[in-house]
């Protein structure tokens, strides 16, 4: 126990700025909840609500008219639906990575950003899950097709298919992320219950905090379970994108049938997830006054992760090319040539620029500590990771084995409606989160703060 409480992080750049104690952290970290939202929040929320209107309309059109309203046309049977699914799931990987893997490695800087990124994970997985369900065409039958639910044909799902593995992986991932997030929230919800002056708020926070008292026994169970959740989430987060990559790699399509897919997908997921954390964190830390807990050191660390994963992803692209030509398989080498010069060449070159070239700016400390620049880079990475999925999916399907089947895929308005709509839906959930829940794990921050103070006292003595 004592070994854990001894902080080993370097003291030169503090993770929490200024002398802080429990009351000051209580005051500043719950700040967003006590004050009514400013006009900017309402404007953003209004825009998001309008976007959600577009989202629901697009979904309604899809469900009532059928997926013929999308641009998908054989051989491009998978398009925006699966691109967006993989993109959102990838974004959702940063949350669990930060909360679980960095917890097990005792990376203390995760404490400032874990609540935030876990929320992002949950909302991203919600956005992702919509696509495969819509893609079944008749979502009301999905229960029979996706889960082992006895139906009138007495036939069962085909468990040898990676698509079935994906159903289990994504549902497990969603439930785990949600419970991990909620476990962390319980003590903070109790804090909100005890600090709020509004009766209604006290009742609601009181219900959700489940009567948490912070007793020694409760904390002991909580701590054990929280570490266990981290231990289970760590392989889980790696398994989810591995299984998503098997959706492709187990198929025989050129450009998909590669053993490098699992690690390269997982790295891509972490890459895009961290970029999304950055895109959201920079405005949030500014407007919610979180600069004392989300310091430049945190942002720099995120940038380093982005740089590292960018190089892993770049290596993946290189290996794909190597394998395609080394294999001597005509279809493979053709597809990979087409990526560079085929119908979708602008998309591929955008991908290379966004994912492989631009993140190399972060080799320079000046770039890593320049806030406007890192925000712009994070947006490029988000775009780049979307184009990567576009190239993998559409880029392989449109030129399949039979030239007479070749078909240029062009997305239709409803495709864009569901895609951009999901972003607004995500934004709406995120704004609600920032309004009603603490964006930083307050109890964990206090624990870290106490450890750091003890460390400083020991050094001074």
């Amino acid at each position: 126990m004592a070994a854990i409480s001894k902080p080993e992080h370097p003291v030169d750049e503090p993770l929490i700025l200024g002398p802080q104690d429990n009351p000051s952290l209580t005051r500043t970290l719950y700040n967003n909840i006590w004050h009514p939202p400013k006009r900017g929040w309402w404007i953003l929320f209004g825009i998001c609500l309008l976007g959600v209107g577009m989202y629901t309309t697009s979904i309604l059109i899809t469900v009532t008219q059928g997926i013929g309203v999308w641009g998908n046309q054989i051989p491009v049977g998978w398009a925006f639906d699966i691109i967006n699914f993989v993109w959102w799931i990838g974004i959702g990987h940063a949350g669990t990575l930060i909360s679980a893997i960095l917890l097990l490695f005792q990376q203390k800087w995760r404490t400032s950003i874990n609540r935030f990124s876990e929320a992002m994970t949950i909302f991203a997985v919600m956005c992702a899950a919509v696509y495969p369900i819509l893609h079944t065409g008749r979502p009301w039958f999905s229960a029979y097709w996706l889960f082992p639910w006895p139906n009138t044909m007495s036939i069962w799902p085909q468990f040898k298919s990676p698509l079935m593995w994906d159903v289990f992986a994504v549902s497990t991932y969603f439930i785990t992320s949600l419970l991990f997030w909620f476990m962390g929230l319980i003590p903070d919800l109790a804090g909100l219950r005890d600090r709020t002056e509004s009766r209604v708020a006290r009742t609601i926070y009181g219900l959700f905090s489940l009567g948490w008292r912070g007793s020694a026994q409760q904390w002991t169970h909580w701590h054990t379970a929280y570490n266990l959740l981290a231990a289970f989430s760590t392989p889980l987060v790696l398994s989810v994108h591995t299984i998503v990559s098997w959706d492709f790699a187990v198929g025989l399509m050129p450009g998909w049938h590669a053993t490098i897919f699992p690690p390269y997908f997982v790295a891509g997921a972490v890459f895009s997830g961290f970029a999304m954390v950055m895109s959201l964190m920079i405005p949030a830390r500014h407007f919610l006054n979180l600069k004392h807990v989300v310091t430049m050191k945190h942002l720099e660390n995120i940038n380093k992760v982005i740089l590292t994963t960018s190089m892993i992803v770049g290596y993946g692209y290189l290996m794909e090319y190597f394998c395609a030509f080394y294999s001597g398989n005509r279809f493979e080498s053709y597809i990979f040539t087409q990526r560079l010069i085929g119908a979708y060449w602008p998309v591929y070159w955008t991908l290379l620029a966004c994912n492989v070239v631009i993140p190399h700016l972060f080799w320079f400390k000046r770039a890593r500590t320049n806030i406007p620049l890192m925000w712009i880079v994070s947006i490029f990475v988000n775009v780049g990771m979307w184009t990567e999925r576009f190239i993998i999916i559409v880029g392989s399907l449109y030129n399949d084995f039979l030239p007479s089947k070749w078909h240029i895929y062009i997305p239709r308005p409803v495709d864009f409606g569901v895609f951009f709509g999901s972003m607004f839906f995500f934004g709406m959930l995120f704004l609600l989160f920032l309004r009603f829940l603490p964006p930083v794990a307050v109890a964990e921050m206090k624990e870290l703060n106490a450890e750091m103070n003890a460390h400083h006292e020991a050094e001074a003595a």
């Binding site: 040898k160 008292r213 007793s215 409760q218 904390w219 266990l228 989430s233 398994s239 624990e447």
Partner: protein, 178 residues
């Protein structure tokens, strides 16, 4: 069934963790073994001072993981091998290797649900009301303060314990019956 008499607790609120730890050690040395502490974060020193029981959750989770594996494996074997064999490209209908991913996911799912439900139920939750909530200043335990609860079987001594805790730096002291 419910025959237990009410328990008298002395609640003492400390603003500093180290005062809490020292006070817990002091009353323990006087024979008060049944201590409880309420704190805003799981401080190792504060937890060690009140000596909560070790959590059985790891064992429960181990059992849950075994159940998850058994459930997933038998489900898949039942569906695709026993009840309705599906021949896909001549692959064997019983092929344990392809069951690995879903078995793994179910191990995780069962374990995670058990960790969560275990924490809630073993922690006596959900319990929106507790007698301690009536105590003045108890609501500080979730954000700022450390509260030491001392069970005093002999209620006549509760006031004495309270005075002593005040001497040890308690911000406020109160008696509550549970």
């Amino acid at each position: 069934m419910d025959t237990h008499a009410s328990k008298r607790w002395v609640l003492a609120r400390f603003d500093q963790e180290k005062d809490f730890v020292a006070a817990a050690a002091k009353v323990r040395s006087q024979g008060y073994d049944n201590l409880d502490g309420f704190m805003p974060y799981p401080s190792h020193e504060a937890l060690a001072a009140v000596k909560p029981k070790p959590s059985p959750i790891p064992w429960m989770v181990f059992g849950a993981a075994l159940c998850g594996f058994t459930f997933a494996f038998s489900l898949m074997a039942f569906c695709n091998w026993y009840d309705f064999p599906i021949n896909i490209g001549g692959r064997p209908t019983f092929s344990p290797t392809v069951y690995i991913p879903i078995c793994f996911e179910c191990v995780v799912l069962f374990s995670v649900l058990t960790s969560f439900v275990g924490t809630i139920l073993l922690g006596g939750m959900p319990m929106p009301y507790h007698p301690f909530f009536t105590s003045e200043g108890f609501n500080k335990a979730s954000t700022d303060s450390f509260i030491l609860a001392v069970h005093t079987p002999d209620t006549s001594k509760a006031t004495g314990v309270g005075d002593e805790l005040k001497g040890l730096g308690a911000f406020s002291v109160e008696q509550v019956d549970e």
